[in-house]
C-alpha cells in the first residue's frame, strides 16, 4: 500500500480538464444524470467520489478534489459502469484518465517496488504485480 499522506504534485490546472477529456476519449456531456454507473459500482462504498461524480465534476471543471482523492485507486476497472450506462458515457475511462493525470506527474506513483514487499506473498500471481504496477505507477 502506498503512503497515504504523501503530498501529490498537481498538474497545470488550466489544462487538466481538457487533458482528462482528451486522453479518456469521454464526452461527459452525454451524461443524463441517471446514476446507473454508481448504482452498479462494486467499489462504491470504498470511494469518496463515485462514478457519476467523476463524470459531473469533470464536466463542471472541479478537477482538483478528484486528483487528490483516494477513490482513484479503488476503482476495480471491472467495466460494469461502461457496460450498463444507457448513454455510453464510459465513466471508468474518466477515472482512469484522472488517475493517469496524477501519476504522470513526477513522483506521484501510488505504488513503488517498496510497496510490493507489503502485500506480496508466495501465492501471488505475476499478473497481480504487473497489473498493480501498470495501474498505480507511471
Amino acid at each position: 500500500m502506498a503512503d497515504e499522506n504523501k503530498e501529490l504534485k498537481m498538474p497545470d490546472m488550466n489544462y487538466a480538464k481538457d487533458e482528462i477529456i482528451r486522453i479518456s476519449g469521454v464526452n461527459p456531456r452525454k451524461c443524463m444524470r441517471c446514476g446507473k454507473c454508481s448504482a452498479t459500482c462494486p467499489a462504491y462504498d470504498e470511494m469518496e467520489y463515485h462514478p457519476h461524480q467523476f463524470v459531473y465534476m469533470v464536466e463542471t471543471g472541479e478537477i482538483e478534489p478528484l486528483l487528490k482523492s483516494k477513490s482513484l485507486y479503488k476503482c476495480l476497472s471491472c467495466f460494469a459502469c461502461i457496460d450498463r450506462c444507457p448513454r455510453g458515457v464510459e465513466p471508468e475511462k474518466l477515472v482512469e484518465a484522472v488517475r493517469l493525470t496524477v501519476e504522470r506527474q513526477q513522483g506521484n506513483d501510488h505504488f513503488t517496488p517498496d510497496s510490493l514487499a507489503e502485500f506480496y506473498d508466495d501465492d501471488m500471481p505475476q499478473q497481480a504485480i504487473v497489473s498493480a504496477f501498470r495501474k498505480y505507477r507511471k
Partner: protein, 664 residues
Amino acid sequence: MQRIGVFVCHCGTNIAGTVDVSQVAEALSHEPGVVYSKDYTYMCSATGQGMLKDAIRDYNLTGVVICSCSPRMHENTFRKAAEQAGLNPFMLEIANIREQCSWVHKDMAIGTAKAIVLGRAAVAKVNLNAPLTSGETAVTKRALVIGGGIAGIQTALDIADAGFPVDIVEKKPTIGGKMAQLDKTFPTLDCAACILTPKMVEAQQNENITIYSYSEVEDVKGFVGNFDVKIRRKARYVDETKCTGCGLCTEKCPMKKVPNEFNLGMDSRHAVYIPFAQAVPKVATIDPNYCLKLKSGKCGLCSKVCSVGAIDYTQKDEIIEEKYGAIVVATGYNPISLDKFDEFAYSKSKDVISSLELERLMNAAGPTGGTLLRPSDGTHPHTVVFVQCVGSRCEANAEKGKEYCSKICCMYTAKHAMLIRDKYPDTDVYVFYIDVRTPGKNFDEFYRRAVEQYGVHYIKGMVGKVTPEDGKLKVQASDLLDNRQLKIDADMVVLAAAIEPDKSARPLATMLTASMDTNDFFTEAHPKLRPVESPTAGVFLSGVCQGPKDIPETVAQAGAAASKAIGLLCKDKLKNNACVAESNEMMCNGCSQCEKVCAYGAITYVDKEFRMPDRTTQVRRVASVNPAVCQGCGACASACPSGAMDLKGFKNDQILAEVDALCR
C-alpha cells in the same frame, strides 16, 4: 414573346436587410420578356396581392416572377391571386431570395448580386412556361383503418359517424388492442375495459363499420382517393357467421397448455380460444400451432360439441380486394423485448416483470383474478421496486434500447405505485426515476398524489443491478440526491419497458410508400402543422404508430385523422397534380427504364401504330403515363436515355434555360 412582370419582396428586413431590392427590380427589368418590374414591402399581404392582380390586368402580363421567400411558403398564395386575375397559375414562378439568399448572406453586395441571378433564372424559365391544367379523378367513398386498437376504433367510429363506410383490419382475433389489456387508466383511474368495451361494441354495431379481425393488409396499390387493397383473412377454422361465442368448444378442448398471449404468457388458454370475455367479434379461433386435429388429424372434439356447426378445419386463408379513398394507419406499439436488460434479472426471476405484465396481474380478468401475487410462489409482495426508463432514453445507435422517451411510463408507473399502495397499504413501493415527466392535464397532480397521499418512495437514480437471492430480489440502486448507493430487498421488481412501433409497421410503410423515421415511427407531413397526415397523400396517422402517446392523446389524434380522412372522402373529385410526366411517343424507344424507376406504378406500355416516312406503318411499344397516379417526382425524366420523358412545368429545356441564366 411573353410579357413578364417581376415583383421583388422586401419581406420587411428579412430580404431587404441584405439584398438591395430596388436594384434587383431595376436589373431584372432589362431581362428578355420583362415589361414590368417593381419592389414592395410585403408581397404576400392583401395589398401586395392586389398589386400583382392589377399589374396582370393593366400590363396584359402572360407570366410572373415573384422574388420572395421559399415557394413552400407562398407559391399557392401568389398562384391563386394570379388565377383570380385571369392568368394560368403555372405561368407564375418564385425566385427564392430569402432562405436561399438573404438569410445566408451577410454582405449586401453579394446578396444583391445573387438575388439578381436567381431572379434572372426564374425569368428565363417563365419565358418557356406553358399553361397547365390539372386533371380530376373520382374519390372512392370508403376508408380503411389498419389496426383495431383504441386509435383505430376511434378513427373508424368518427369516419362512420360522418356517413362513410369504413373497414377495420385487425391482425389479432379481436379488436381492442393494448388498451384492452390495461387495468386502470391514468389520471382518473377508471377501468380501461369499462371505457373501451362500449366503443368496441359501438364499432361492431355501427352499420358503416366492417371489422376484419384476424386479418392483415397484404398489398396496397393506387393513390389518394383510389387505393386498391388486398386483405388476407387468416383461416380461424371457425365460421364467423355461425359462431355464437358460447365458449363450449374452448372449455372442451383438451389442449389447455397454450401460453395465453392476452395475459402475456402468465397463464394458459386452450388451442381453440376467445381472447377475453368482451372480445369483438366474440367468436372462437383455433390456433393451428397447437390444435391436435389440425396438426395430427386426431381429436375433433370442438367440432363435436359445437351446436351450430361453426367449426371448419378445412378453412383456408382468404384474400379480399377492396377499393378505398383514404387509409388510416393505426398499427400501435409493443413494449420492447427485455432480453438484453438482464442486469435487472428479467429472464432470471419470474418476479421481475414488465409494466404491462403488472397490468394483467392487477386485473380482475388476469391470471391471479386481480390479486397482486408474486408469479414465482404466489405470495403477497411486501416490497415492490419500479424501475423507470428501461430501454428508453438510451444513447443513439445503442446496441440495446431506444433513444427516445417513451412518454407514457412516468404516468403509468405512478398509477401502478398508487394502486398497489391503495390496495395493499402494508406494501412498500419504491420508484427509481431519472426525471419524472408529467406534462398533461391533471398529470403532475396525479404523480404528486402518489407521493403525498399514498406515500410512494420516489428516488432520483437508476437501478444498477437486480440479483435474485433466497427468494428475494436484491436491488442495488443510486439515490443521487442523498449521494448514496441503496440496497433494497424487494419481493417484486417492475420494469417500465420502452415502447416501440409494432413490427408490422415497417412492411406496411413500404406497401403504402409512406415514410418512417429511424425508429420505425411513421413520419408526419409536417411535424407541427400537419401532424396526422403522412407525406403520402391519402394516408393518415392515428395513435402510437406516429410516436409514443397516451390514451387521451391517441383518441384526440384518432379524431383528427378521421376528420382529415372525412375531408378527403367528402370531395367528389380530386384535382391531380398538373406537373406530371409525359412521354414524347415519337422519341420513346420502349426501353422500360422509366417504368423501373417509377415508385408509384404510373407508367405502363402501350403498343401503338406509327406511320413511317416511307408511308409504311410500324407498331412500337411506347411509355404512357397515368396522370392521375403520377406524383411528378421526375425520376422517369432523368432515367430516360432518349429524352422522350419530360416533366410538365419542369421540362428539360426550362431547367437548362435556368442553368444558362445562372451561368450567364
